[in-house]
Subunit: 446 residues, 2 copies
């Protein structure tokens, strides 16, 4: 039994939904289907969820309100009519939305935001029935997806998994809207953005699927960001750990934490393309044969800063590092890495955590309580992760990477290796990132 | 004006002291001379200071006591007679020792330990006079070397430097015993072991010497440990920072912290060989021309352990690192380095800090308060430092090092680069250290 999740672009319009239906029809194992809200039909298009967010905040009868409503109406009109579904369905959807807009509960905005996924599931299940499948819409409440009462950041509660497990015995195909669950007292509550992946992963774990298929609009996970290297090689197989390390530094196929429920239940995950479903895609598995060890991908991300602190005999001063981390913690800054010399320490943080005001405050705190010889901040760093199982025990892995960077005339600002068994991390100036990645790609995959 | 310090092997016997005298005579600038206690004359010999320590602990008239006394008598007998000095001097030295042994002050042991240096200074100054120089013994109290009241770890007090500065105007040559100073209320107090280097450096800083010459029994500082690579290249010039980084990982020419007073006063330091004084030696300077930038030396040391901790989403957990360092701090363990992955951290510590009992305690603490997914300790690591000014901004430095390690079939357990501007640090298995060093040496200096 498989769980298939279809992202926003897969249900963006009637033509896409027909592809989805064909995929579902093509494999009798595809029993639980999770859908996103209609996404972008073209690159300048607006996702339905963004329209819903604007709508929920707009004053009734205001210009924004009316234009949002019109846009929603237009999209579902196209979908329902082009799929040849009954007009009743469109009326029902719009009636539901109208009721939500008029309601005044504390979870009103969650309900409006979730309208896109919920409607998608109704449309897709209707269309599946229309083409002769025994398909049903399944509300997350009826599916037993119970979450904490945190709007926009709901956390799954453990009983959900046993609730979901009971669904295995049902006859037919069930289409579940992604992105939301219900609190124990029945209030609709949304996950964080991109939450349809969370639902898919939870359902896969709950029903103990043999495979969780995540359908997107790319053929696979790529060895490197296609925006930097054109037509990069595809990754056939990845381990969970590799996926996680790649995701850290900007691999944005999906939110890696969303996959955790599936990972924890050891469900293999397939990344596939709705527009090209015969393509093999990428399999994400718990373990792979050691003979496949080696560098599997290169990820990169900008937006890092470093705080450099030097003080003679620092490493004799018991508590120095702890006090430093305490200053950062009080300012609510979590550190990424701490390369260190004999008499110096550098803390790498994400730029977005370091407003000008916070930076000034932290420097003052460091000066006052640690009395360093020097403290300075360096912005505009990029982090590059070279990822692969077994790297830790391979002779020459570092050599290959450092050669690639030297050949590209890139100065290495930082190397961090020695904790993760599956990755090696380099810091470079942000302006050097593209040429660094290109050269690393050539070295490992060229 | 120069300050010259002679180590234990330089004053180990009469023949060596004659060399010292010739060196002093050879340059009229050598005005302040600091001497160690007589050291080893051959590799199985015992340093006089070790005999004195045994003596100070021994019961009067015990076998140890008598044999120590006899050994001391024998050494000074050889020195005094072979140098053709008057027998009065020998009697005076032995009388002084006898008085110290009988005394009962709280600094008795410091006084006995310092007897070696004190006697050396008396002998050397007498011999210099005998060969026609205007030389004087100068007691540290008269020189104005004022220290804190911490036996075996005295710290210099700032007034010492201005006291010493006044000595510049004296006529003649002054021989000062190393290793000890006096508290403000006049108690003799010793520095940490190897403290003659501390005295030399303090005197050089105090009198504002144009050069501080540190005479040992090696021709220079070497680019790599001669016990690992035979006949390694000599280092002609080093910066203070390079020296410090090299010292950290086992470069044992001298205790780098001892040089700090000279470094702070920006006095250049020359490392020279008493047995080969015409050799240029190694100059340690504050700055050197950037055209001389590049790798200057490779140091290495064993005796490190790593504590590996992994926990999913660790880097989201504000305070995780701080709590970990707090646990180590409470156990009085100072960390050396903290390489980190996304979901893991490794703390590198010196083995000697991690007794089995402490290790067990720390693991328990980490498990109880941080709830990690994994925690494990890895022993027998070696640290290798590749050191050189300007490394930070050189493309290809990491490549050269990692290539050398790959060619030697050495797996890199850790790379730490990015904080120090003058070094790059590698962790390898202790068993791989020698082949790693040999290969790095070939690459940079072969």
């Amino acid at each position: 039994m498989k769980v298939a999740k279809f992202g926003g672009s897969s249900v963006a319009n009637a033509a896409q939904i027909k592809k989805v239906a064909n995929i579902i029809k093509g494999d009798a194992q595809r029993k639980f289907i999770v859908v996103s809200a209609p996404g972008k039909r073209f690159s300048e298009d607006v996702k339905l969820t963004d329209i819903l967010i604007d709508l929920s905040d707009a004053k009734p009868n205001s210009e924004t309100y009316e234009s949002c409503l019109a846009a929603i109406h237009e999209r579902f009109y196209e979908i329902v009519t082009s799929l040849g579904l009954e007009k009743n369905l469109l009326d029902e959807l719009l009636k539901t939305l109208a009721n939500l807009l008029e309601s005044n509960t504390d979870h009103r905005n969650d309900c409006i935001k979730a309208f896109g996924e919920d409607s998608s599931a109704k449309v897709v299940s209707s269309y599946l029935r229309r083409i002769g499948l025994n398909a049903h819409y399944l509300n997350p409440k009826d599916a037993g997806i119970i979450v904490t009462d945190e709007s926009g950041d709901a956390q799954i509660l453990p009983e959900s998994f046993s609730n979901l497990y009971r669904l295995r015995d049902l006859e037919g195909i069930y289409v579940i809207p992604g992105f939301f669950g219900y609190t124990a007292d029945g209030k609709l509550t949304t996950f964080s953005r991109g939450g349809s992946d969370i639902t898919g992963s939870i359902v896969a774990a709950g029903v103990q699927a043999s495979l969780y298929e995540n359908f997107t609009d790319v053929n696979s996970v790529y060895t490197v960001n296609p925006a930097i290297v054109s037509n990069p090689k595809e990754i056939k197989q990845l381990t969970y750990r590799e996926m996680r390390e790649l995701s850290y530094a900007g691999f944005s196929v999906f939110h890696d934490e969303a996959l955790m429920p599936a990972f924890n239940a050891k469900i293999p995950v397939a990344i596939k393309n709705t527009n090209n479903p015969d393509k093999e895609g990428t399999m994400i598995v718990a373990e792979k044969p050691t003979k496949q060890n080696g560098v599997v991908g290169i990820a990169s991300d900008t937006g890092f800063s470093s705080i450099y602190i030097s003080k003679y005999l620092m490493n004799r001063e018991l508590g120095f590092g702890r006090k430093l981390l305490e200053i950062l913690e009080k300012a609510h800054i979590s550190f990424e890495h701490i390369p260190s010399g004999i008499d110096d320490l550098t803390v790498i943080v994400r730029d977005h955590q370091l407003s000008q005001k916070k930076e000034k405050h932290i420097i003052e705190q460091i000066e006052q309580s640690l009395h360093p010889d020097t403290v300075k901040v360096h912005h505009d760093l990029a982090i590059i992760m070279v990822v692969g199982e077994g790297m830790m025990n391979m002779v020459g892995v570092a050599q290959k990477a450092t050669s690639a960077l030297a050949e590209a005339d890139v100065n290495i600002v930082m190397i961090n290796q020695g904790s993760s068994e599956v990755s090696m991390m380099f810091g470079v100036e942000a302006r050097d990132m593209h040429k660094a990645i290109k050269s690393l790609y050539q070295k490992y995959f060229g």
